[in-house]
Symmetry: C2
Subunit: 334 residues, 2 copies
DNA sequence: TATAGTAATGTAAACGTTTACAGGAGTGCC
DNA sequence: GGCACTCCTGTAAACGTTTACATTACTATA
């Protein structure tokens, strides 16, 4: 493999000049530039951007840490990040935590060793040591799907509380009073916790007593949604509406409910959260909260670059959500 | 930021020794090792694996090129390669081509400049120059979702022809004779082409004339599935069954058919390809061909490492597929 | 033609590891 | 005490760029 030296020799110039035709061609005479370009062709020169990274301490790589690429909502954000990184000529290394905090730690460490220029993190614990350490060391990172509206971290997210509130309010406006919730485990998902909070507050605001038996915390997955709904339906006084804290849970719940012989949405209303693409394709089409996943990823990447270039005081951005009413929610039976 | 030099100085040893405690601690005396470890703690030493990559010409990074992370089937494969890469202490840089060949070219070039140790590629054109060049230069790469059973490339894939055949055969066994197909554009998806081929051959084998009007080539997306099915249903002699060349198209088709007032599967049978997770959660549950996406990714990564370590003659692996009959296919009406 | 100014190019050190090779220290044996 | 051996550690070059600074080559002006 030929290096800048070989090219320089062949073209009869110095390595500095070769480097210049690569990085700032405008500062080398046309004639020289052509000589160099020709030489590069001849010895089939291949640029080594890792060596560049080493020399400049800039890898042009960022790390993206998400719970799991399997959830379409994170896949969508990933695209947002990638697309923006692309315009900045930066590549992204992807890591899944599978909602495990120690995995998050490992990933952060590994990626930093790799000298990524910055990190975009969908954290499992916004109050943990990982972020604190990162911030203390003034390492550039931004939180994605953040629940934090203020404070020392750069972050972009949505108002999960409001989202939960909106869904619940929708249920109530349809006459429901027994409203269950299938939530992601609070211990691994702050988001889920905030959504629950909104749900709970909305109940109280409408004079509906909060019943803790109507809450199930579980893993984010189709099968868990399917199972959880059955548990709720087995209650002595089962819910007539169920708020699932993501669309996958909701889709699972729909299946579970049907397996119990219920007609949807006549016998049971179900709503989700995320508005993943298929949400509008299932039957009945899923009522859900739309969160702008792609935009969030894109904005997260933008903020990260901003942070890397100018580590001013932290910016937090909260993106809007929208209640999308479709066919999976209906008036309370009877 | 402290380097190996600082640590060495502090511990009163040479950099070589420090390097050794990092990479092969067993070859340094316990006492020395502890001295060094202590020094590392004290000066808060952070390993720089980019520098290592530079020195060893091994980045411990591989590139993964897929059409789009939005398709759950690719997301699943991505997990497979990540999980295996992980056991090899390797990170993966992800790139989407969005089914564009020039994007594929750009990605390959960029990733090679980045000195990734190898590439896993879901190509848009297995006969194009990109792969040929790569192979000529003896660059380690393996094809994912490959349609190639033999030849000079390392590859893992499935038998798309057989998949297409199986689905069609299933339709025919249910009495269907007018069987349409909504396929990904042949120009960007060899896989789709092979599936069509199987479909076509199966028709012929059963004495059913091939009708080119029953084929639609389009982009892989929910909306395209939705639109395409309507086109097919508008035919003078519309199909009673439709084979969609992936599940997203099929899910879209289900919606489109319903918008036309059809009852599924009574009025129209629909089958997909991939068996993505939600396929069994929609109503009616989707009949489809299961392809082992996760395993494919994992195996692809395994093969890549094998190829990197021992560039022997190419290996091609074809994974099994399975027809999963669910509720979206039924006997022909009447 | 000399000169000042600018534009283009060259020199060489730096980036943080690894590793081939050399050298030294310890051990067991005669 | 000398020797051979093993085990541990050190020396220094190498990896392929970038870049501050120095130098040289042009150009315009008088």
């Amino acid at each position: 493999m030929s290096t800048i030296f070989d090219v320089a020799k062949l073209a009869g110039v110095s390595t500095a000049t070769v480097s210049r035709v690569i990085n700032s061609p405008e500062m080398v005479r046309t004639q020289t530039r052509e000589k160099v370009t020709r030489a590069m062709k001849i010895c089939n020169y291949k640029y080594n951007s890792l060596a560049r990274g080493f020399a400049t301490k800039q890898s042009n790589t960022i790390g993206l840490i998400i719970p799991t690429i399997n959830n379409p909502v994170f896949a969508e954000s990933t695209r947002g990040v990638q697309d923006y990184a692309d315009v900045r000529k930066t590549q992204v290394i992807l890591g899944n935590t599978y909602y495990q905090y120690d995995q998050e730690k490992t990933l952060v460490d590994t990626l930093r060793e790799k000298q990524v220029d910055g990190l975009i993190i969908t954290t499992t614990n916004p109050r943990g040591n990982i972020l604190k350490t990162l911030a203390d060391e003034n390492y550039p990172f931004v939180l994605l799907y953040s629940t934090i509206k203020t404070g020392p971290f750069w972050a972009v997210g949505i108002d999960n509380y409001r989202g939960g509130y909106k869904v619940t309010d929708h249920f109530i406006s349809l006459g429901h009073r027994r409203i269950g919730m299938v939530a992601g485990n609070f211990s691994i998902s702050d988001r889920s916790f905030h959504r629950w909070h909104g749900y709970r507050q909305c109940l109280l605001d409408h004079g509906i007593a909060y019943d803790k038996n109507l809450l199930i915390q579980t893993d984010y997955s189709l099968t868990e949604g399917q199972g959880s709904v059955k548990t709720l339906l087995s209650l002595a006084d089962p819910p007539t509406a169920i708020f699932c804290s993501n669309d996958y849970l909701a889709l699972g719940a729909m299946k579970g409910a049907r397996e119990r012989g219920l007609k949807l949405p006549k016998d049971l209303s179900i709503a989700g959260f995320d508005d993943i693409e298929i949400a509008s394709y299932v039957i009945p089409a899923l009522t859900t909260i739309r969160q702008p996943a792609y935009e969030m990823g894109k904005l997260g990447a933008e903020l990260l670059f901003q942070r890397m270039e100018n580590p001013a005081r932290p910016i937090q951005r909260m993106l809007g959500t929208e209640l999308i009413v479709r066919d999976s929610t209906a008036r309370v039976p009877g």
